[in-house]
Symmetry: C2
Subunit: 389 residues, 2 copies
């Protein structure tokens, strides 16, 4: 009875992992949740009440599919101030988080079997969203400098990929950030190709060390599609994100958005707009970054202390994750099963690959545990690894 | 560059119509908006503040793809009290309005070219949502008694439709309600077929005359999928709806929901749940129905007074629309252009048909104009019709 696009999709692996990790006695480095202690509850509440005062019933009525023009103007201003990008309001479409951005892109671009270049490892939400439209994934590895441009070039030898998906800053799952040089090199490969580059960017503002990098839009203005979200910086439960796309893509996205759900929750769009007008987002993000920086340092210190020397890990300058590579031959999935017995959880690398299983890599989240818990959890993990060696 | 599914989809016709009608000097019977004067602003505001008090930061965190269990329990209770239906909470999935319910159903059921039976005339949002997945529509006419069961039976002679879409109570666009006898007859045709019936039900509680009808779920419990929404009864801008589906369908819907946007806005789910706990929905709906009833009566009175005798129209016992059939040979689209010059708008029938254009039918909304304006607008429309004859 079901459509081909949904028959093969298994139950979300990460969902199952998160279920296991929900046990309160388990130290979890598995989730990807922002730290709830930092949610600006009182300011969101004040903004909400101001919205009721200012707009009354109008804020409860149906609204435009594009999203609230004032909120889109605030987003455009933020691109100007934080990224030095000039983004016209008409090129911004409000979505239900960036996950819906991915779904809409899949909907308007991907015919069954169309090729899509995917970072390896890559964000599993993108793999799921494009996978539903039966994309043919071409994985291209990322390393600490960014995407492997030799393998990127090879991807065009036999296929005509329509999209390339990247999280170039504080990547999920690896924490890797593409250097400016690598971004330019990637852009040079793509410049004469018939392709759109998707720059998914939930984490760039969560930078606690180093310098901002340039957006791909600075190198490939006509070919870059940006995805943004407030989920990691303000509030996740509102499911508020956006797509920035060229005019001809925007037109198709708008048709797809209408058919998908008419428009994103207008009430909470207004609340976020009011919050951005009344409070300093920079001040709020400073608090997040101070905490996440300390948590990351605690995790790096614990990894140094407890992990065998031949285990490698990234040391990101921001974001929420780091990426561990076990010695060859060790399976992160086997380690996961051992770790759960010792009451510590993480996400094994498998769901972040489109063509590999039984990998020796894993993702650690550091934003949801205090420093002492991080030390205890990493110590237990280190013991599990030593036993496996 | 674009996927086949989106290339042919034209800009929403109704969107263009609504743009024309947005001119404040135009009397508009075109929209499908609930009357904003009836939004329970103060109670929603109070519920919102209680949610902040009770839940604090938890209400801002990511949440389950199924939706809030307490809200789903409230919805289940409502099915019990209003419809005498026993709906387990596990069979309810929260969506972004029922439009997302339609999109998710298209996503999990429709391969390109799969047949879908569609009421004629039928809800254009469903035509759009399923059209994106390249459904092959089989139109089956509805009349004042409900669906034509002879033509419904014929639909199975040469094709194997997977879905049948209905709005059996106060249909959009026609205002028609299927009788209980017709529902039983439709169910009898479908009973031995491999098909799911979608009962989209945004309007049933907006009944100001007559008796509640039975849900198709009472006749075909295993084959019926229900769509619900709070958009017409409480607040549209939250984009909050739901699907009720059998277990095996629910499993696929959940995968599709995760890939589409992870979950629906959790904060406003909690607000609606609190609203339902703290206030009487029945009392609120009584107010809506008192106003809509008066507006409908005003429109029927004006139609009697100003329309030529050979113009037919429905006289619904609830909902937001009625349906006008002009004498043969008259085009509602031509009438629309004339009417706009006279500063009155409606929706010509064309977008509600999958296989016809230039039809002689049109939709009138009566919930957004006061009685005097209804009289003036219908008078002008009557003049335009007489000129066309």
């Amino acid at each position: 009875m079901f459509a081909n696009r949904i028959i093969d999709v298994p139950k979300s692996f990460i969902r199952e992992i998160l279920k296991v990790s929900a046990d309160k006695s388990i130290i979890s480095f598995a989730g990807g949740l922002p730290n709830r202690d930092l949610f600006p509850v009182e300011n969101i509440r004040a903004a909400t009440n101001r919205v009721f005062e200012i707009s009354g019933p109008d804020v409860l009525q149906y609204n435009k599919s594009e999203g609230d023009p004032e909120l889109r103007a605030e987003i455009s201003k933020r691109y100007e101030s934080f990224y030095s990008l000039d983004i016209p309001v008409k090129n911004i479409l409000i979505t239900n988080g960036s996950q819906q951005g991915l779904d809409l892109l899949g909907k308007i671009f991907i015919n069954e079997g169309d090729s899509v270049i995917m970072e390896e490892p890559g964000y599993l939400g993108a793999i799921q969203a494009f996978g539903v439209y039966k994309a043919d994934f071409i994985p291209v590895p990322v390393n600490e400098e960014g995407m492997d441009t030799v393998q990127l070039t090879s991807a065009f030898l036999t296929k005509n990929p329509k999209l390339i998906y990247t999280v170039p800053t504080f990547q999920n799952p690896s924490g890797i950030t593409y250097s400016n040089e690598n971004r330019k090199a990637v852009a040079d490969v793509l410049r004469d190709k018939d392709i759109f580059l998707v720059e998914d960017n939930p984490y760039a503002e969560l930078r606690f060390e180093g310098e901002n990098k340039k957006s791909f839009r600075a190198f490939l203005p006509e070919k870059t599609i940006l995805l943004g979200t407030i989920s990691k910086t303000i509030v996740p439960s509102f499911r508020l994100g956006w797509i920035v796309a060229p005019d001809e893509v925007m037109e198709k996205l708008l048709v797809a958005k209408q058919a998908s759900d008419l428009h994103t929750n207008y009430f909470t769009q207004r609340v976020v707009c009011q919050f951005l007008k009344d409070y300093s987002l920079d001040d709020h993000i400073k608090k997040i970054n101070a905490l996440y920086s300390a948590q990351k340092q605690a995790m790096i210190a614990a990894l140094k202390k407890y992990f065998p020397k031949d285990v490698k890990y990234t040391n990101p300058e921001g974001g929420m994750f780091l990426w561990v590579t076990l010695p060859e031959g060790l399976s992160a999935m086997d380690l996961f099963n051992k770790a759960i017995e010792r009451k510590v959880a993480f996400v094994p690398g498998d769901p972040f690959y489109t063509h590999k299983t039984g990998v020796n890599t894993l993702r650690l989240n550091y934003t949801n545990s205090d420093e002492k818990t991080i030390d205890t959890g990493v110590r237990r993990l280190g013991e599990c690894i030593r036993e496996s060696l």
